[in-house]
Symmetry: C2
Subunit: 527 residues, 2 copies
C-alpha cells in the first residue's frame, strides 16, 4: 500500500494580482463560498465563520466593557416607518429589498428588509425613553442587513446580504454627551482595528457624502493592496434629526420636555475582508493570532509509511526463499526502528498539543495521512500563525521547530519550553504584523504640496492621476468642502474625497480646483 | 430631601391566569417588547437577549462538543430552489414571505425569506461533498427564519420572525450512520432541556404530521401551565429525500456513487418561552441559575436617608436657639451613627459582590436609591435566583442573608463563607427547580386504560374531553396511526396526537376510534 497521493490546488494567484488573489483565497482558505444561487450573497464556511466570530468577539467585548448592551430588533420594517425620515429614505429607497407577499396574499403594507435599523429601533426608543433617568441608552445588535446593490458585487466587501452588521445606537440627554459618545466610538473602533493590526485613517466625511439623516459622519478607511481605500467603519452624529421624526423626548431634571440627542455607528464584515486582504501573502491568509481559528498546528514529520511497508512486503516475499537472510533482517530492523520512531514522534506531538491546549491556545494536531508538504500548504493557506514541526532528529535533541507564518522564520525550541515560547512568539507575530501593515500603509500616504495658483492645481491633479494608476494610496491635498470640487477631482484624477482628517492640526491653503481657502483632505481611489 | 418615591407596577396577573400572566411578564421582566409596528414580530430587550444568549450558549457548546460546526447560510432562497422538493414546498408554500422587489425594480426571480434552510444549504452540500472522506458533515446555524403565520401569534411561541432558530444539518455515507445521528441529536436535546430544568416527552410524530420531506420526525413536547403541550424541538430523518432532489452524491470507498443520507434537527426561541412559562410564579420569572443573566443581586439594607437628613435639618434649625442641647446632640449622634453604619453596610456589600464576581458568578449590587421593597420586586420579577440582604444587624453578626427565588427560603450565612454557600445554593436551586417541574409534569400525565369495545372508546373520549377542560395534560391512550382517527380524536376530545413515545415498551390494544390493534400514543391539547 503506497502513501495516498495527495492532490491539492497549487495555483493561488500572486497577491500582486490582488483581485484574482482575493477571490481565490476566500474559498481555498474556506472563508466564504460564492457559488450560492443568488447574486451577491455568500455562504460562510465553518472555518470562515469561526474567524468571523473571533473578530466580532473582540468588538462585543469592547462594546460591553464601555456600557453598551446587546439587543435584537426585527428584520422587517414597515414602509410607513422607513418613509418617515425624508433624507434617510432618500438615501436608501433605491437599494431596499421589499417583501410584498405573504403566502398567497399581497401584503397591505410592503415590508423592507432593513438596510440599517434606525427606523426599526427608534420607534422603540420612543416607547422606552420617558425621563432623563432613562438616559443615556447605548445598545447594539449584530444582524444581517440588505442592500439591493446594482454595482459589481464582491464577497465581504460589496454584498446584497451583509451578514454581520454591528450597529450601535445611542440616545443622550445633552448634545455634549452625544459628542462625547462619538469620541468614545472613535476610540473603541481604533482599539478594535489595532487588535486586528489593520491600519486606518479617520476622517470627517464631506457634508455632501454623509450618512442620510446625519449631522455629520466620521469614517475609518483602510488601504487595500491594490491601492484603493475601503471604508471599514462609520460613526454618525444624528443630533435631533431622528428624535424629532420619531418623537423621542424625555422629561429633563428641570421638568421640561426635550428631544434626545442621538448617535449611531456601525461595522460590517468588511473588517474580515480587511484582515484577509491586508495581511495575506502569496501563500494564502496570514491571520493575527488573536483571531486565528487555529493558532498553532503541530505537524509530526514521520518516516514515510510507503518505505516501511515496502520493506515489510519485500521481506515476506523473499522469506519463502532463504538467500540473503542477513540483509533481510537488517531491512526488517530498519523498518521496525522507523515504526517505533514514528510512534515516539506522534507521542511527543500529542503531548506538545495537550500542553498548548491546556494553556488556552487553539491548537490542532495534523496527524492525517497527507504528506508534510501538503499539510504545510493547507495550514499556510488558512493563515495559521505558527506551525510546530517535530521529526525524528528533533526527538534526540528534545526540541521542536516553530515556523512563523508571517515571515517563515524558523525557531528551534526545547520541548520543555514550548508553551511560554509559543505564547511569546504569538504576541511577537502580532507586533510584527502590525508594524509591517502600518509601514506599508505609511509608504502609500502621499502628502501633496500646497498649490499657490490655478496652474499649480492642474499639475497636482495630473500628478495624482499618474500616481493613482501607478499603485494608488491616500493623498493629503487641499480641496474645499464643495460637492462640485469633489466631483471634479473624481472626474479628473479618479479619486474621491474621503474627508478632513480628524485630530490633526490643519493648515489652510488654496483648493486645487476652485482656489478658495480650505483645509487638507484625504482623497483616494475608493472601493 | 425625602427619599425618592418609587412607582412600579404591582399588578402582575396570577400565574393561574396563564395567558395574561405570560404576556405581562415578558415586558415587565424586560424579555421582549411586542409593541413593534409589525404583527407577530418582537424586539428583544437587552436583559431578555442576555437570557437568550446564555440558553443558546448551552446549545452551542453541546453541539460543538459533539462534532458539529457552526456556519452561516443566506436568508434569501430563490423560488426555483424552494420548489425543488415537492413535499417540502407543499408544507411551506402557504406560509412563506416573498421578496419581489429590489429598489424600484421587480425581481426576475422572487426570493423567499427562509422558513427553514434545507433548500439553502443542500445546493451547497451538492458542491461540497465529493467523496466518502468528506462525510459525515455536521453543521448548524443560529438564524432568523420567517413564517407567514395567519393564526393568532404569541411572543416567542408563534411568531412571524423566529429570531433564534438553531438548525443542524448532517449528511452521512450510510443509513446506519444517519440513524445514529438521530439518536445523538435526541441525546443532545435531552441534555439541553435537563440543563434548563424543562420536562419533556419524546415521541415519533404520526406519519401524517411529520416534517415536509422527512421520512420520520421525532419531537420533544413540554407541558405549559395551561395544560397544553408545546413542541420545543424536532429531529428529522430525511433519508435520501433531499439528496435525490439536490443530487448530493459521494464516491464510496468501493468506487460506487451513492446518495448521502441526511438528517436535520431544530430548536427555536420556544426554549426560552418554556423556561419562562414553566418556572415562573406570581412574582415573575424564576430562572435556572445557569442561564440567569443575573445570578445574585446584593441589596444593602440601609437606614433611610429621609430620617437621617431630617435629623440633621432639625438640628441646623434649632442650633440657632440653644434650648435642649443634650437632646440635639443625641439626635445628631444618632444620625451620624446611622450614616457610618450605612457606609459600612455598603462597604461589606461591595466586598461580597467583588468576591462573588471573582468566583465567576454573575452578580449585581443594587445600591440605587429605591426602597428595598421596590428592589426586591424588580429582581424577583427578573427571576434572579438568589438575593443577598446585608443590613446593620447583619454587620455585627458578620453575616448576610440569602433569599432563594424559587421558594423564598432565607439562609443566614457567615460573610466569610458566602462564596461556597452561594455556589452550593445555586446548584441546589437548579435541582429543586428540576424536581418540582418534573413532579408537576408527572402529575399531569394521564395513563388511560385500554378499551376493549367500541362503547369503551366513547367513554374514554368523554373522560379525556372532560379532563382537557379541567386542566389538560398529556394522555397516554391507544389510538392507531391513521389520519382519520387523529382527526376524530381532535374533533371529539379536542386533543392532538403527539405520537408514539420513544424508548418505551409498548403494549398493543384496540384503537379508541376504529378498534384496530395499535400501540399507545401520547395525545394532548397542543399549542
Amino acid at each position: 500500500m503506497s502513501a495516498k497521493e495527495v492532490s491539492f490546488p497549487r495555483d493561488l494567484p500572486r497577491k500582486s494580482e490582488f483581485s484574482e488573489w482575493y477571490s481565490e483565497v476566500l474559498w481555498r482558505a474556506e472563508i466564504v463560498d460564492t457559488r450560492y444561487p443568488v447574486k451577491g450573497v455568500c455562504v460562510w464556511y465553518p472555518f470562515g465563520f469561526k474567524l468571523r466570530n473571533l473578530i466580532y468577539g473582540i468588538l462585543r467585548s469592547l462594546l460591553d466593557e464601555s456600557g453598551h448592551q446587546e439587543a435584537l430588533f426585527p428584520l422587517l420594517i414597515p414602509r410607513s416607518e422607513l418613509l418617515k425620515e425624508e433624507k434617510h429614505i432618500k438615501g436608501f429607497e433605491g437599494e431596499v429589498f421589499w417583501v410584498t407577499r405573504g403566502g398567497f396574499e399581497e401584503l397591505e403594507m410592503p415590508l423592507a428588509l432593513r438596510p440599517t435599523s434606525e427606523t426599526a429601533i427608534y420607534p422603540m426608543f420612543n416607547l422606552w425613553i420617558r425621563s432623563h433617568r432613562d438616559l443615556p441608552i447605548r445598545i447594539y445588535q449584530i444582524v444581517n442587513v440588505f442592500r439591493y446593490e446594482t454595482k459589481h458585487t464582491r464577497p465581504l466587501i460589496r454584498v446584497r446580504e451583509i451578514t454581520s452588521f454591528k450597529e450601535a445606537h445611542t440616545a443622550h440627554a445633552t448634545r455634549e454627551d452625544a459628542e462625547r459618545q462619538v469620541r468614545t466610538a472613535v476610540e473603541i473602533y481604533k482599539q478594535f482595528f489595532e487588535r486586528l493590526a489593520v491600519p486606518f485613517v479617520v476622517t470627517k466625511r464631506p457634508d455632501w457624502d454623509k450618512f442620510p439623516g446625519a449631522e455629520y459622519t466620521i469614517a475609518f478607511d483602510t488601504l487595500m493592496p491594490d491601492g484603493r481605500t475601503m471604508q471599514i467603519a462609520t460613526i454618525h452624529m444624528l443630533g435631533e434629526n431622528f428624535s424629532r421624526t420619531f418623537d423621542i423626548t424625555f422629561e429633563d431634571a428641570d421638568g421640561t420636555r426635550k428631544f434626545v440627542q442621538q448617535t449611531c455607528y456601525g461595522i460590517s464584515e468588511r473588517c474580515v475582508a480587511a484582515v484577509i486582504a491586508i495581511h495575506g501573502d502569496d501563500h494564502g491568509l496570514v491571520l493575527p493570532p488573536e483571531v486565528a481559528p487555529v493558532q498553532v498546528v503541530v505537524v509530526p514529520i514521520l518516516f514515510s509509511k510507503a518505505s516501511t511497508a515496502q520493506t515489510t512486503q519485500t521481506h515476506s516475499q523473499s522469506s519463502q526463499g532463504s538467500s540473503s537472510e542477513q540483509s533481510i533482517s537488517a531491512k526488517e530492523q530498519e523498518a521496525s526502528d522507523a515504526e517505533s520512531t514514528n510512534k515516539r514522534v506522534l507521542e511527543v506531538s500529542r503531548s506538545v498539543c495537550e500542553a498548548l491546549k491546556s494553556a488556552g491556545i487553539r491548537v490542532v494536531l495534523d496527524d492525517s495521512e497527507e504528506r508534510p508538504g501538503a499539510k504545510f500548504y493547507k495550514w499556510e493557506m488558512r493563515g495559521v500563525p505558527l506551525r510546530i514541526e517535530i521529526g525524528p532528529r528533533d526527538l534526540q535533541a528534545e526540541r521542536c521547530v516553530l515556523v512563523k507564518r508571517n515571515d517563515f522564520q524558523r525557531i528551534a525550541v526545547n520541548i520543555e519550553r514550548v508553551v511560554p515560547v509559543v505564547r511569546e512568539t504569538l504576541s511577537q507575530i502580532h507586533a510584527e504584523m502590525r508594524e509591517k501593515a502600518w509601514r506599508k500603509f505609511a509608504e502609500r500616504m502621499h502628502i501633496v504640496r500646497a498649490s499657490g495658483a490655478e496652474e499649480d492645481g492642474e499639475t497636482v491633479l495630473q500628478e495624482m492621476s499618474a500616481r493613482v494608476s501607478e499603485g494608488g494610496g491616500i493623498f493629503s491635498v487641499f480641496i474645499c468642502d464643495s460637492e462640485d470640487c469633489g466631483r471634479r477631482v473624481k472626474e479628473t484624477a479618479g479619486v474621491s474625497v474621503l474627508g478632513e482628517p480628524c485630530e490633526e492640526q490643519n493648515e489652510i491653503a488654496k483648493c486645487i480646483i476652485c482656489s478658495k481657502d480650505c483645509s487638507r483632505k484625504y482623497v483616494a481611489k475608493a472601493y
